[in-house]
Amino acid sequence: MTALAPGSIGLATSDAARQVARRHRVGRAGLAVFQLSTIVGIVVLGALLYNIANEAAGLVAYEHKTDPAAVLPGGRDLAALSAPELAAVLTANLSPGEVATLEREAPLAERSQAELRRLVDERVLETHAAAAWNLTDSVLDRPAIEATVAERHPDADLRLTSWLSPAFVTAPQSGDAEYAGIRTAILGSLWVIVITMAVAVPVGVAAGIYLEEYADHTRWLNRAIQTNISNLAGVPSIIYGMLGLAVFVRALEPLSSGGAFGAADPTTANGRTILSAGLTMALLILPLIIINAQEAIRAVPSSLREASFGLGATRWQTIRHHVLPGALPGILTGTILAMSRAIGETAPLIVVGMSTYITFDPSSPFDKFTTLPGQIYQWTARPQPEFHHIAAAASVVLLVLLVALNASAIYGRNRAQVRY
């Protein structure tokens, strides 16, 4: 055996120093790799957000079927006209029947200037986008774009446009990208999510209570339920869609179409309704809600349960008065997170059968529907580039909604933590 003297591991001191220096260099290189990966993650998130913002606004070359100079008073620009002037343009150029319909929806005299301008654009001038550019190109390459427009669309107006506008949020679905909106989709998402949460939250929380407070985990059935829940959480969402298609849409069609309640027109109705979608989504997020509720319940200190039992409380009294109030903030946070997951899901609803084109507001659980992410998908899947721009605009709305939800969940979690 070699004797080990301090400072001599078979190397001359200068060699050892050199070796240590080399190892530190390798260490720094390693750190650089780790940091780079982390930066890649951040850059990707940045690119994702940039891409959406970039597509949601930009220069648009508008062409008109009717020459504006011919119909607008004094050849003035559309934006410069006042609301009464615009109303006059509409009455002068539309058929009396069309005007009457508009007046029935809302009197023209009471409509805002922006609303009337949009109507004149759509109905009178029949403006449409001949070409559109993303924001970066619009800012950096404007002269080239102007040259192209002058050459290819000599009559077009070139305007910097945000595809996301108040009108975009409130307008129903339309076949023209310029006039389509996400009102129908937002209402559809709202209906679906209400049904989803109404089913998933009570069932999920109840199951969480059962598994944490009642279930004897030495019994195989309870262990099977627990294992099963974690496996369900990993089942691809599209499989839930197929489950919904086979069970809610097809097997339970009389119920899900509303036919059994006389709520729908039996000749046209089928099971591809808001109710089917909500129930499918409820099954999808049920495992998330259960697992989260279990964690929240487990975090309630057992000393509270003991104190309660020690006073002669029954199990349910203990749960209702001490465990649930203590677990509530955690359950709420998890519920919001599950809700944002359900709002963003698309695949299962495609399988259950979102409508590709509906323009009316859904008004009952037995109506056909589309949802915000579903609308984004359908617009993205279209070849025309204008639809990609409105898909980006809708994505902005969806992301803002989800970030707001998640932020409120995280804020709530940090604030409401009860200290024992």
Binding site: G30, G41, Y210, A246, L286, A347, I350, V351, T380
Partner: protein
């Protein structure tokens, strides 16, 4: 003990009676509550049962079709339902290519982020980075699909030439699915690294190891099973991902090894077929359930394996 108002006025001495009734009151409410809660837990079993029955029944219906044989389904190289050709391979191949590319992206980047967060980052940096990952994990997949089609694909076509890269292609979808599962790989791997006892790191530092040597030669190997579990769960997630491939990978099954071409995955096929107006008694309808069953078996297998590994490595340290 029957509590009466008069007896509870103030607190008196303990009851003088020698025996007090301790008999079990029938607590109907308690039993009813437990039954309801159990029923809620049982919904999960029903869900799994329903998935198995639904997929199994219609898949069986599919294989009963005289045009279809199980052998052709598993070995056939062409999926052309109109021509009566039902070979799963083109769809499976596209699925595996997408998830393979995704793993090549997600594993190194996710693991590096995990090592950085667990072994290097200061608490302040961690507290900034983890929410970023959470946001990335919370972005709806349809938006990732949009990102693949309108950002990644144009870059690929610009870099490699529009002739060589299809508008819809496997590579773009695979890269973006990889990005999509990075948060999953990173957070699960970080949990695994954090579970490695501090004493092991201290032992390595005590021998004069640098931070990198400690991380890569001591901590990561100790957490390997947890990292493997993360990898498998991420793989299962990538295989089941639908929106990105439906948007960016293309429609139409094609057996190809070239990731720059378009090819339809299993999930892409299911969503395309079921999205249209589908008649319930067609072979198309049955075929998506056969594919769904294959998808379910593959992902469930990966999930169970991942869960097993996680449980085993927990036992080692606890």
């Amino acid at each position: 003990m029957t509590v009466t108002t008069t007896r509870l006025r103030g607190v008196e001495a303990a009851p003088e009676a020698d025996t007090v009734p301790l008999g079990r009151r029938r607590r109907w409410r308690e039993d009813a509550v437990e039954a309801v809660l159990f029923a809620a837990g049982f919904v999960s079993i029903l869900t799994t049962g329903a998935i198995v029955v639904v997929l199994g029944k219609d898949a069986l219906h599919f294989f009963r079709n005289p045009d279809v044989s199980l052998v052709d389904f598993l070995t056939g190289t062409v999926w052309q339902p109109q021509l009566g050709k039902f070979g799963l391979l083109p769809l499976l191949n596209a699925t595996l290519m997408v998830s393979g590319i995704a793993m090549v992206v997600a594993l190194p980047i996710g693991l590096s982020i995990a090592v950085y967060l667990s072994e290097y980052a200061t608490p302040a940096v961690r507290n900034r980075l983890k929410p970023t990952l959470e946001i990335l994990a919370g972005v709806p997949t349809v938006i990732y699909g949009y990102f693949a089609l309108t950002f990644v694909t144009p870059i690929l076509r610009w870099a490699l030439g529009a002739r060589t890269v299809d508008i819809y292609n496997v590579l773009s979808a695979g890269l973006v699915v990889g990005i999509l599962v990075i948060p999953l790989v990173a957070s699960m791997s970080e949990d695994a690294l954090q579970a490695v006892p501090r004493a092991l790191r201290e032992a390595a530092y005590g021998l004069g190891a640098t931070r990198l040597e400690t991380s890569l030669q001591v901590v990561v190997p100790s957490a390997l099973s947890g990292i493997a579990a993360a990898f498998m769960l991420a793989m299962s997630r990538a295989i089941g991902e639908t929106m990105v491939v439906a948007i960016a990978a293309g429609a139409g099954p094609r057996l190809t090894a070239n990731p720059l071409r378009s090819a339809e995955t299993m999930t892409g096929y299911i969503s395309r077929i079921s999205g249209g107006d589908l008649s319930y008694n067609s072979v198309d309808y049955d075929s998506i359930f056969a594919i769904g069953l294959a998808l379910f078996v593959i992902t469930l297998g990966l999930n169970i394996l991942s869960g097993r590994i996680v449980r085993r490595f927990r036992e080692v340290y606890e």
